[in-house]
Each structure stands twice: as C-alpha cells, then as structure tokens.
Amino acid sequence: MKRFTRICAALAVALAMTPVVAQQPIKIVGLVELSGTGATSGTNFDNGVKLAVKEINAAGGILGRQVQYTSSDTQSNPGVAKALAQKAVDDGAYVVMGPVFSGSILVSMAETQRAEVPNFTGGEAAAITEKGNPYIFRTSFTQTTAMPKVARYIKSDLKARTVDVMWVNNDFGKGGRDMIIKSLEAEGIKVGADISTDPGQVDFSSAVLKAKQSNGDVLFVYTNEEESARALRELRKQGYAKPVVGETVLTSQKVIELAGDAANGAVAHVGLTADAPLPGIKKFDVDFQREYKTRSDHNGLKGYSGMYVVKAVTEKIGKVDGKAFAAAMHGAKILVKDTPGVLMDVSFDKNGDIDRESFLTKVENGKQVVVKTLPPLGAK
C-alpha cells in the first residue's frame, strides 16, 4: 500500500510538472535598430514582429506554447549588434529576428551561426546569403534579385539611356550601387554621375547639384529612409524634374511622411508594401495602424511575415529545435492559404533567399500606389 501511495505521488508530481514544461514560452529575440540612423527601419520591423507575436499568442501560440519576444536596440551599430547576438544566444533564443541593417547582420550573424540559432534579417545586401551560413534567412528580396527588375523598368518604361546613381556609403548602399550599375550595364544603359553620400547625411544640396549637372535621364536613389526623404526634399527644392527611381526604400511610408509633397512622382520597386492589393496585407495594414497609430513601411511587413514563417515552419517540424528548423527552411514553401500571416506565398532557397511576387510603386498625392505587380522570379 505504501509502495502504491509512493507511485501515485510520483505520478501526481510528474503530471503536475508536464503542463509547466509545455507552457514554457518559446524565446524569440529581436535585434533591432531602435536608435541611430536605422531607427525607422528597426522600429517598424520590431513593431511588425510584436504584432505577429501578439496575434500568434492570442490564437494559442506555436505548438501550444506562448511566444516570448524581447527586443534590444543595436543602436544601428554593428559592434553592438554582435554583442547583443551573443547575449541572445546565451539567453537561449530559439530564433533571432534582425538586425535590419545589412552592415549589422553581416557582423552579428557569426554569433547565431556558431550557436546554430536561426536568424531572420531585413538586410538586403547580396553578401548576407553568399557566405554559406545555413542559419540565415531573409525577410525581403536580395539586391541581386531586385536590381535587375529595376533596371528593366528603367529601360522599358522610362526609355533612359543614362542614369545617375546616388547611394549611401554603407554595406546596404554599396551593395545596391554595385548591383544596380551591373544591372543597368547589362541592359545597355550608361551610368552618369556616381554620387556617394554618407549615412545620416543631412545636407544633400551638393549631391543634388551634382546630379543636375550630370544631366542623366533618370536619377536612381538608394539610401536609407531619412536620407531618402532629405534627398527628395532637396531634389524638389532645387527643381529637379527628371524621374527619380529607387528600390524599396524610396517610396516607403516613412519616406513619404518625411518628404511630404517632395515624394510625389518617385517610383520604386518594392518587395512588400502596405498598399499591395492583397487581402492579407490590407488586414495587416488596418491592424498595424490600430496598434501603433501609424502606417507600417516595408520593414513592418518584413518583421510580421517573418514571424509567421517561424510559426509555420516550427509547426511543420512539430518541435522547437533550431537545427531542425534551419534544415526545414531550405526549400520551404509557405502558402497564404495555410498560414495567412505570411501575407504572400513565399519560398526559400538553399541560401536562405526568398522568392515571391513584388510590386512597382509610385507616390501620387502623398500616397504609395501600386502600379504593377511583378511575378516571382521562379514563376518565369
């Protein structure tokens, strides 16, 4: 009888412990630019992840476990990002979200790779997924896939023969500059003025004057949000009247808000936009505005959809295991009909690059308007 009592007691303890283990939250850590030159990008990305986590938890979490999301400020500084990545690993993160800046992720991803922790990034520099890191995954297009689409548009729609390129001198900008020049030349378009600007640059008067003097048919602007807004304001101030084209950032919500009327007429290829004519994205737009009283730019969509990719793939493998997660991500295809939160059907290749539809957008009357939907590269 005594033995029976002991067994019952042990079973009772075991049963009592089981829910505790099952209820342990899944730790997701955000490394985001909440200050410094990347504050706009990082804040949007962070808010997107937070919104997704809130929805996922409200719907019962992932595999019945709640998601515990904490974010840290990289200060837009690669060194800080690296230290925070190490801390995230030490804290037992299942997945790391961010940083958004290419310069930061290029440095910090060594820590997550070493610890075999999957790492999603908003960075677009081609080099990020060219280093053979099996734990890095994008939430947006790489410059390698986006720039040829931009060059094709400049040639076919704008009929330009010479293009001036204004870019920000960081990893993001330099990668974009190299890729757009390569893509333009592949289309037989000549590059006119090659105008380098600084991260955080506030005065674009001489840069714009240089573009005006060069007399190219089109100006391609590839800088971060605040700099893009300042460049557009200066272009308007100096009466620049030729087409201004960009990739992703130039027509983003934040740039439109900061540049005001000066953003009108700007055209950009975007991988994600809150103005996309898709039901999932329209719902996201409404929810995001209700939550944060502001519209999301593409970075908010990156964070949001990225978090839902984490949910979809974790539920597919049926366990919280970073190594198995990373293995399942390569070649994964996640459909909106199965996981509406991914917003658009998306697939990942062996490098962690994504493929999905994209959009050509234009700013009209202070609003980003989708003028064309471009198919995924894999659909061609």
């Binding site: 909440l34 200050s35 410094g36 504050a39 706009t40 804040t43 001198n169 105008i195 380098s196 600007t197 600084d198 640059q201 506030v202 005065d203 674009f204 008067s205 001489s206 840069a207 004057l209 240089k210 003097q213 949000e225 605040e226 807004a229 300042r230 304001r233 200066e234 308007r236 101030k237 100096q238 009466g239 934040k254 808000e257 900061l258 540049a259 005001g260 009327d261 000066a262």
Partner: protein, 291 residues
C-alpha cells in the same frame, strides 16, 4: 559659373543657420563664461516644441512664437537658474560637464517620449525656385538668408545701438567694471541666456525642414556651431558669423567639386587648421589667462 553661384548661395544659407547657433556659443561665453555643449539640443527642443504646437492645430507662426516663449523660459531662464548659477562658481570644467550631461539627458528624454524616429517639419518658406541668368536659387535658401540676416543685423544693432546692448557688451568685456558703473550684471547675463534661447528657436525653424526633427539632430548642428565659433573666434560675435558661413560654403564646395562623402569633414579640418595656426580664431583676440 552658375553652379558656383548656386553653391555659394545655398552654402551661405546653411552657414547662416550654423552662425545663429554659433552666436549663442559666443554670447554665453562672453557674458557668463559658459561653454554650452548642449547648444545642439537647445536647437532640437524648440523643433519638437513647434511640432507639438502644430499637432495641436496652431499655425506655424504661432507655434514658432510659443516655442520662443517656452525656450526663453526653459532654455534661457531655467538653464541659467538651475544649471549655470549653482555651478559657475566652481569654474568652467564642472559647467562643461554639466552641459554635456544636459545634452545626454535631453536626448534620452526626447527619444523615450517622442520615439527615435525622425519627424518632418514644413518649411516656413514657399517651395519653388528663382531662376536668374542661369542661376537657380530656391525660395527656401533666399528666405533662410533673409531671415538669418535680419536676425543678425537686428542683434548687432541691439548690442551696439541700445543702452541695454551696450551694457551687455560692457558685462562681456569686464564684469567688475560693469558692476562699478552701476550696470545690473545679473539682469544683463539673464538677457544673454534668453537671446541665446531665441536664436536657437530661429535656428530650429530654419534647419529642421532639412535635418528633420529627431532626438539626435542637435549633434550635428551643435558640433558645427562649436567649430564655427572656434574658427571665427570664441570671443567675437562677428567671428561666429564668419565661422558659420565659411563652414557652410566650404562644405558645399567640397561636396560638389570633391565628393559629397567628404563634406562632413570640412568643419573638422578647418577647426584643426585654426587651432594649430591661429588658436584665437580668425577674428578673435588673444586672451591672457587670469591668475
């Protein structure tokens, strides 16, 4: 040639804004022996005050006036009474450290309370350009030049032509003698702090449409203003003007003729050259250390 004229005009316009902030540096130094390393934040705070005013439905001119009043009270009187007066008797260094602390604290508070993101402030001038003989100059640059010019001329007239202005100059030159002459030194010093605060609001009005309102927008303007004051001569108000305009123009020329990537280094290079070869500044007078 048209490019050069355009570069000069926009450079002078930008330099005039640096000069307004630099004027504050020199005025505070002359009148109260204060080097205010929170000068950039003194420009940033009014920018946010104007944003608040506009968000509450005030027209820009009224938001500007409200910001002037608030700045005069908080950044003028408040700064003097709470920070400067208790510390000034301990010498320049504790005060410098205190202003650095104010700078960090103000940035942190604004960042926590208003987010780290940039916010737009509309230009007080109409958009568009004036084209004359192949030279295109924006109305914004013309407006900036005119407004900054009027402020500087009015300030010089006030300092040189009015009894109060002359009294302030007397305090700046020799406090003890001014006191013997019956000048209310405390009041004159107070006026200087208030003028500095109002100059910061004007600088904020002119520069925020370009810089965008952000918690760290003062870093750049504060640094440029400090360099401008040193380059021109810390003990000369005219020096601050020269320093500001020199930096603005040279930045534009380097940005255009060399590379925009190098323009941010112009002020630092000029500052180093002046410190090495003419430490008192281009228009400054050498001062002997008091024992």
């Amino acid at each position: 040639m048209a490019d050069l004229v355009q570069l000069l005009v926009s450079g002078i316009a930008t330099g005039a804004i640096y000069a307004l902030a630099a004027l504050g540096f020199t005025l505070l130094w002359q009148a109260a022996g204060v080097i205010n390393f929170a000068q950039g934040e003194f420009v940033m705070l009014p920018a946010f005050a104007m944003l608040f005013g506009i968000a509450f439905g005030l027209p820009m001119w009224l938001a500007f006036l409200v910001a002037c009043v608030l700045a005069a009270i908080v950044l003028g009187l408040g700064f003097k009474l709470v920070i400067v007066d208790p510390l000034i008797r301990h010498g320049v260094i504790p005060l410098v450290i205190a202003t650095l602390g104010v700078s960090i604290a103000v940035k942190s508070i604004v960042r926590a309370g208003y987010s780290a993101e940039a916010h737009p402030l509309a230009s007080p001038f109409p958009s568009g350009q004036l084209s004359l003989a192949g030279v295109t100059v924006s109305y914004a640059d013309i407006g900036t030049l005119v407004l900054a010019g009027v402020i500087v001329v009015a300030l010089q007239a006030f300092l040189n032509k009015t009894v109060t202005g002359r009294a302030m100059q007397a305090v700046a030159q020799n406090t003890d003698s001014a006191r013997v002459l019956g000048i209310n030194v405390r009041r004159m010093v107070m006026y200087v702090f208030v003028i500095n605060a109002v100059l910061a609001v004007v600088a904020a009005l002119l520069i925020t449409p370009t810089y965008l309102a952000k918690f760290d927008m003062g870093d750049s303007i504060g640094q440029k203003a400090f360099f401008a004051a040193i380059i021109g001569g810390f003990n000369q108000t005219r020096g601050a003007l020269l320093g500001g305009v020199l930096i603005g123009v040279l930045e534009n020329l380097v940005g255009f003729y060399v590379s925009p990537a190098y323009k941010e280094g112009v002020a630092l290079l000029l500052f180093l050259l002046v410190i090495l070869f003419r430490p008192e500044g281009l228009l400054g007078k050498a001062e002997e250390r008091k024992v």
